[in-house]
Every structure is written in C-alpha cells, then in structure tokens.
C-alpha cells in the first residue's frame, strides 16, 4: 500500500541522513521525502545555527550528489547567480577571426549583402560556448541532478526572489539569446532563511515550508552523541539540560545546536566528567556571544546546573 510505503520511505530518509551524521526529526524527514516525490523546493526557516545548511549538505552526501551552493547577499544579481556572457572571450575571438571575417565578407558586393552575411555570424558569438554558467544554471545543467542550496535567501533583494520563481516552479531558465534551458534532471532545491525579512508569497507558495526550531532534549542529545562521540552519557544529559534551561532566559542570542556541539567539544577537550559551576563559568563564552547575555546568565548558573542534574534522575 502507498501508505505503508510512505512511512517506511520516511524512515529510510531518517536513517540515511543519520548515516551522514545529521539527526533529523520526523518532520524534517517528511519534508525531504515529499520534496523528492512532488518535486518541490524546501524553504527552511529557523534561528541561526540549528542546521539548516547542514541539512542540504547531508541530503547531498546521502544521495551521493553534488551540492551547488549559492550564497545570497544584498546586491546579488542575475549575472552572478544565473549566467553571464564571456565578454572578453567574445572580444578576443572577434579580433582573432578578423581576417576570416574579411574573407567571408569580401564576396559581398553591396553593404546590404555584407550585413546579410554578418547576421549569420552574429549568432556564433552568442552561443553556448560564450555563456559562463553561474550556480543556478550549473544546477540545471548538471547531468544526473544535484542538490542546489540557496543560502540565506532573506539577505538578497526582493527582485532576486522574482528571478528565482521560474527556476523553482518549472526548473527552467530563459536566456533571451539562446532560448529556454530546461533541467535534465530536476535538482533538489533547498532554500534557507533566517527570517530577517518576510519573503514574498509567490516564493513561499512554490516551496514546502519547513521550520526548524531548537530541538527537543532527546533529539539534541542524539545530535551531540553523533557529532561528539567522545562525551560521556551523564555529561551529555547534563549539558543538554543546562542549555535548555539557558534557552528559557530572555537573551539577545539564544545558544543553538551548533553552540551545543562546540560546547560539547570544549568540555571533552577540558576532560570534564561532570558539569560544575566553575567549568561552566569558564566556558560560558562558547555558548553565549554577547557580553550582556553572559551577565544575565551568570547568576543563574548554579540553579540551572542543579535543575539539569535533577531532570537527569527522572529522565
């Protein structure tokens, strides 16, 4: 049955990503599965450092496909994202072929005839050889498909979004001089956004909308386990519990998964076996990136450690 197939396929996605060191929640796995089945891009939103970019890398590694990454920034335009004419090459070729052109045009009696003949050559200089493909075109032309990561789309201008619409819905690009380029195999497209600005409805409509928030305690423990194998189970539980307590504070920048992993690495390096006030105080700057945040968290450390240890007993 189709239903049976779907749930096993989603589990396969989960374990496949896990093999690449990416522990996905059920929802993420469903999104990845669906994007493949109905050929829609995934728009991933969420705070910084929860593994949005990692997801694309893991999907690419799992499927054994090439990942093409387009980092968005303000002022990104068609020439840098889609394609560009190799202007210098065009110029150089015209210079080299000057004599050849003279020969060809020599036969023409009138200006009109020369122009006629020149028209046939015009197209030579606007052919595939003179197009410099940028990430989006590369992704479409890649044989066998690839994973296209459009990173931090919210950083780009609103005009760039409109440029993406054609690619996202039909997997094709129109180059006025050449015609429309279709994707050989539709790439898996993953867009990430930090919600710095609201994306347009037209873009959102074409995507599966996936929100990755801070993971639950269990899931985060598994993530730490897969990423930092050297850490003991007690310490892992304590530190993840502690971070969950920290996230309940009103901070400028909450520690996310990447900070958890960094902190776990630091704790392993320092050969800590258990969380205590001193070691937390020394390494707090790994977790919190603002002076004001550290000051706000400082007085709570002892209580949080105690709480994390207590939840351990029941967990």
């Amino acid at each position: 049955m189709a239903e049976q197939k779907a749930s096993t396929a989603i589990e396969a996605v989960e374990s496949g990503l896990a093999a690449q060191g990416y522990i996905a929640s059920r929802q993420i796995a469903t999104a990845v599965y669906l994007s493949q089945q109905i050929e829609k891009p995934i728009l991933v939103e969420g705070p910084a450092g929860v593994g949005k970019t990692e997801l694309a890398k893991a999907v690419a590694a799992w499927r054994g496909k090439k990942m093409i990454r387009l980092q968005c920034y303000e002022g990104l335009d068609e020439a840098k994202a889609l394609y560009e004419w190799k202007y210098a090459k065009q110029l150089l070729y015209t210079q080299i072929l000057k004599d050849k052109l003279g020969e060809v045009l020599g036969g023409a009696q009138t200006l009109h005839a020369a122009l006629e003949q020149l028209h046939d050559f015009g197209d030579v200089f606007f052919s595939k050889e003179f197009v410099e493909p940028r990430p989006l075109l590369q992704a479409l032309e890649h044989p066998g498909g690839c994973v296209l990561l459009i990173d931090e789309i919210d950083k780009s201008d609103a005009e760039f979004e409109s440029l993406l619409l054609e690619i996202l819905s039909d997997f094709q690009v129109t180059i006025p001089e050449l015609g429309t380029v279709f994707a050989i195999t539709p790439p898996t497209v993953i867009l990430t956004s930090n919600s710095e600005r609201d994306l347009g409805d037209a873009l959102k409509r074409r995507c599966l909308h996936l929100h990755i928030g801070f993971p639950e305690q269990r899931l985060e423990e598994r993530i730490v386990e897969s990423r930092v194998p050297g850490i003991t189970q007690t310490l892992r539980r304590q530190m993840v519990g502690f971070i969950h307590e920290i996230r309940s504070l009103d901070l400028k920048k909450l520690p996310s998964v990447s900070e958890t992993i960094d902190w776990a690495r630091v704790l392993v390096l320092l050969e800590a076996s258990e969380l205590d006030t001193e070691i937390v105080q020394d390494t707090l700057n790994v977790l919190l990136k603002y002076e004001a945040d550290i000051e706000a968290a400082q007085p709570q450390i002892t209580t949080f450690i105690a709480k994390a240890a207590r939840s351990n007993v029941f967990g």
Partner: protein
C-alpha cells in the same frame, strides 16, 4: 477521505491560513503521496504544504487537532462499551433485553434512526452524524447564532421526524422502550450540539474575527473596556502594518514639474534660443518629519496611547518622529516609547505627566521654550487632545507660531464636532491656526488621519 481533506482546507481558511487553489492542489498531491493512515505524517504533510510561516503552522496545527477529534456521541447507558458488536446482533440483544423487561414488542417496526439508537452502535451513530452534518452543509456555518438552526437541520437529516412518530407509537405500546429511546435521543441531541459547536470553532473563526474587528474599529477608543485593550493593540499593529506596506516603498510617481524656462533658454543658446532641448523643474519631495503633542489627561489618555503606539510602529515610513506628552506640563517621550514595550512605556509616561488636569497654555509654553527650534518647514505637527484647558489661558499665540514654522499643523480631537466650543473647550480658537482639524475617536478615524498625514509626503 478526499472530501474530508477538502473540508479541512475550508477549516484552515477559517483558522486564518491562506489556502489558495494552487496550494490545495499541491497539498492534495502530497497527501496522495503519503496516504492518510498515519495521522502524524498527514499532519506534518499538511503543515509543510499549507502553512507559510511559524504562526500559520501553530494555527494550522491546532485546527488539524480540532478537525480530527470527533466529538463522541454520549450514551446514557453503560452497556455501550462493547461498540464493535455487529448491528444485527446488538439489535437482537437489545430487543431481547426488552423482552426480559416484560412486554414483548419487536423493534422491527421502528425507523432506522430509532433502531440505531437502541442498538447503541456508537460508530454507526458517529458516522450518521457526520454524514448528516455534510448533508446540512455544516461547513457553511458563520455565526454563533446559527447553532440552533444547524442542529435542527442535522437532526432532520438523520430522520428525527420518523423517530418522533416511533416514539408516539411506542409510548402507547411499550412505555419502557419509549423511555429508553427518549433517553438516547437526549444523548444524540447533545452529540449533535457538540458537532455543531466544533463546526463553529472550525469554520466560523475568520468570520467571527472579522465581525469583532469591524465592531472594534468603530468603537470609541476612549471608552473601550479593559479586556479589549489587548485586542485593540493588536488591531492597531495591524493598521500599522497596512500603512507600512502602503507607504514604505515610495511609489514611482512623475516627479517632473513645470518647464524650467531659464535653463531651457540657456541650454538652447547654441540654436539661437530655439528650444530643441527642454529642461524641466523637478518636484521636491520631503522626508516625513513628525512632531506629535499628545494630551494624556483623563479621557484622552487612552486615545493618545493608541495614537503613539501607531505612530511609533511606522519606522519604515516615518523615520523621524518626536513625541511629547502633556497634561499640566510637557515632556518628551520619544526615548521611552522607543526603548520599552507599549505597556511599560505608557505606564511610565503616565507616572511622569499623567493624571493632572490639562493645561494647554503652560504645556505650549514648555514646548516653545525647549523644542520650538526643532520645527522645520518640513515638519508636520500633530496635536492630539480635546482642547479643554480648564478655563486657563489657552495661549493660542504660541500655536500660531508653531503653525508658521511648520509644514502643516493637524489637530486630532477625540470629541465629536458638536462638543467643540462648548464649556471649557478652546477648539474654535485653536482651529483658526490649524491646517486641518478632524475628529479622531475610533481606530478607523485614527487610521485615516495618520494615513492622510503620511500621504502628503509621498
């Protein structure tokens, strides 16, 4: 199931999630892909395809849970627990039970609804309610006042008329069975009522919200109840968002003005003054600058609160706002409003200048002494107040000077036009120096007033 998913799309629209036809097609494709047997996967799938932001995900998640939780038909009798017994068996069992009770009256002559109720088959009853709700088009319910009519429509569709006839017959022939049937009928009514209440929560939320917002928009700001303040704040934020969307991107408008004769002549000197090339003056556009003076005494305070909230949520449109609050004297409050949440800011402003009796004259003197120099010919000055100065000197001369220094002077008065000039109202005297005086008592009027002010800069 397809029918159910379509009904869910309607429910999702009711929950405020925009579901366009294209999105519903995509969602249908996705659902066809994953199937409907696994509730958790179905939920994730619909959330992925339909919701487009975190808020929508939450709303849609709640909607999903509500939609797929069927209200259980309540049964009066405990023996309903074995609900998987086949229809016939249960029926014969129940008729057997009645035969034990005494009079042997077979229930064969009864209508289908009566038989179903007596058989205590909970699944069958739930299914019958669901299909009757579909027949009565419960998804069209819009207002809470329609609950009664939808309940009776559903019951009619289930065959209540026939059941009534059966009941009449039974009361004569088999009173005990009639009693039982009557009890189960009450249970059925309750179940139908629950179904309708659920339908109302699912399908009518948007409509109800629109209606409430419409009422709220036209309610006088000064007299809204405490519990409505939070709703009003949300409404004001909505208005602010709308104004931002409308005005934050300056529309490309023709900026060309009159012919610049001087430059045209000079440019065409080479052709002996024959104007081949024309030069045009450009219209100058000012950046919005607003100075707001708000009365925070007594009844005007609430309106000022909302006004300040609105004007300070328009960052993208008006970058330069300075606000001042006064009752008996005047202070600048821009920093307080910028740095704190609306509630805290208002509390602090009130503790500093609120609750005094208003004295427009001395407040204007305060303004002239300290801040008159901030006014430029690009500034719009907005005064919000009822102009009731407790018979103190109104100092309209200062207002005249403010008006002369600024681009426009707009007076917003929460009182109705009829009250202007009566009692201690100084409105007519002030009005002579204002470019515009308008009433501003409701959220709608507030929106219009602010929208007009911002529009003059476009």
């Amino acid at each position: 199931m397809r029918e159910n998913i379509h009904r869910f799309f309607r429910a999702a629209r009711g929950a405020g999630v925009h579901v366009s036809p294209a999105e519903s097609i995509d969602a249908m494709r996705a659902v066809a892909e994953v199937g409907v047997s696994d509730r958790a996967i179905l939920r994730d799938t619909l959330l992925l395809t339909l919701a487009k932001s975190q808020d929508e995900k939450l709303a849609l998640g709640d909607c999903f849970d509500l939609f797929f939780s069927q209200p259980e038909p309540r049964q009066q009798q405990p023996e309903a627990s074995n609900d998987d017994t086949p229809h016939e068996a249960a029926q014969s069992r129940s008729s057997g039970a009645t035969s034990d009770a005494g009079e042997n009256q077979p229930s064969e002559g009864l209508g289908p609804l009566a038989q179903m109720l007596l058989s205590q088959d909970r699944n069958a009853i739930a299914a019958a309610i669901a299909s009757a709700a579909g027949a009565a088009s419960l998804s069209d319910i819009r207002y809470s006042t329609q609950r009664g009519i939808f309940s009776s429509r559903i019951l009619d569709a289930m065959g209540l008329q026939r059941l009534r006839d059966d009941l009449d017959d039974l009361t004569a022939t088999n009173p005990a069975l009639a009693e039982r049937l009557r009890a189960t009928l009450d249970g059925l009514r309750e179940a139908v009522r629950d179904t309708v209440a659920q339908g109302l929560a699912l399908y009518a939320r948007e409509e109800a919200e629109n209606l409430r917002n419409e009422i709220l928009r036209n309610a006088p700001l000064a007299r809204i109840e405490r519990r409505q303040v939070a709703e009003m704040r949300a409404l004001i934020r909505q208005i602010a968002r709308r104004l931002r969307e409308r005005y934050s991107k300056p529309r490309k408008r023709q900026r060309r003005g009159h012919l610049d004769v001087r430059r045209t002549l000079r440019r065409n000197a080479a052709w002996g003054g024959v104007p081949f090339l024309t030069a045009w003056k450009r219209k100058h556009r000012d950046r919005p600058k607003i100075v707001a003076l708000c009365d925070v005494s007594g009844s005007v305070a609430q309106v000022s609160d909302f006004f300040l909230l609105l004007i300070h949520s328009l960052h993208e449109v008006v970058g330069d706002v300075r606000s001042f609050a006064f009752s008996s004297h005047l202070i600048e409050v821009s920093d307080i409003l910028e740095s704190k949440s609306p509630e805290e800011a208002m509390a602090e402003i009130m503790s500093k200048v609120g609750f005094g009796s208003s004295d427009y004259g001395s407040s204007l003197v305060d303004f002239e002494k300290e801040w008159m120099s901030t006014l430029t010919p690009q500034t719009t000055v907005i005064v919000l107040g009822d102009a009731r100065s407790n018979n103190l000197d109104p100092r309209a001369d200062i207002l005249r000077r403010i008006s002369e220094r600024s681009k426009r002077l707009v007076w917003l008065n929460p009182e109705g036009r009829l009250a202007w000039g009566f009692g201690d109202s100084e409105m007519p005297r002030y009005a002579t120096f204002c470019s515009l005086v308008r009433q501003c008592a409701t959220a709608q009027q507030l929106e219009r007033a602010v929208s007009d002010i911002v529009a003059t800069y476009q």
